[in-house]
Symmetry: C2
Subunit: 162 residues, 2 copies
DNA sequence: GATACTATCTATAACAG
DNA sequence: TCTGTTATAGATAGTAT
């Protein structure tokens, strides 16, 4: 966006791409920060590389539940019930988003298969097939339990508030 | 950022704030989209209102595990082991972030207490104290089980790859 | 409330050291 | 590779419809 107009496509030159990434990441976070301030919203940006082993880059630093609860308690009593319901709904939304990510159709089967294939090929033999199966199964089971609980026990009263 | 420079502070006028929000959210998402394309990274933006009951606004639409797995399978065999480890590490990172959010010190106690206080005051009597306790407990228990499994069964071989 | 306009502000591509 | 500079592309505040 400056001296020349850049074509909207992957930048193949490593140095150029890294420079652009750094500048644009900074700009993106700045925009998110301003939006938060101007409109009083919580905004977060997550960036991660598909091809690199680094952890995702996140802005802002993890918004702690503790801070949210503190703010919540400071609100006038009048608004608290509704705020509480919203808090619960947000928790549900977050967990549901993770559910969608973790499950997917055939996710467990595919993941287990792919992981084991590659473990076998590369000799990481400390992990047994059963371990991977157990792990995938366990995650699915627990995720389902949480999902069911959320729907059975909370949604009913959240909806009443509308 | 236009006709006049806007002071970086909460916009109190409702119409102005909503207009600004809409414009800036669009701009933010556009920037994130460009960054993704130019630098080949996965980026996502999450925005939610503290004071409003809407669900968080998310860009892009949920990146499915299925798509990630498809991309993963198309990679040359050479790089797959490392990519697999990175995939697992990302899964761990995501779950751990949620763990930090869900747990926190005394989180269960505080949340249960606050929720029940407000439920009682506002007559939403369809929800029993035990339900809330059960729910909080169950989430914590399941989250702990997943956490333990991840650390016991995966971290060991993830670290070996380093 | 949504859309359109546009003057002006902001972000940044290319470059220099 | 980093930091600084600057011309230009891009985003948007105020406004009108």
């Amino acid at each position: 966006m400056a001296r020349t107009r850049v074509k909207l496509a992957y930048i193949t030159n490593d140095a150029t791409r890294k420079g652009t990434y750094k500048k644009r990441k900074k700009g993106l976070v700045k925009k998110a920060s301003k939006l938060s301030t101007l409109c009083d919203v919580e905004a977060c940006v997550v960036i991660y590389f598909s091809t690199c082993d680094s952890q995702p880059e996140v802005w802002p630093s993890i918004v702690t539940t503790h801070r949210m609860l503190s703010n919540f308690k400071e609100m006038p009593a009048m608004g608290q019930s509704n705020k509480m319901v919203n808090l619960v709904k947000k928790r549900i939304a977050k967990i549901e988003e993770q559910l969608r990510r973790l499950r997917g159709k055939n996710r467990r089967k595919e993941l287990t298969q792919v992981m084991y294939q590659n473990l076998g090929r590369n000799g990481l033999n400390t992990v047994k097939e059963e371990d991977l199966n157990d792990l995938s199964w366990l995650i699915d089971q627990n995720v389902n339990v949480i999902d069911n609980m959320l729907h059975m026990r909370i949604e009913s009263f959240v909806l009443q508030e509308k």
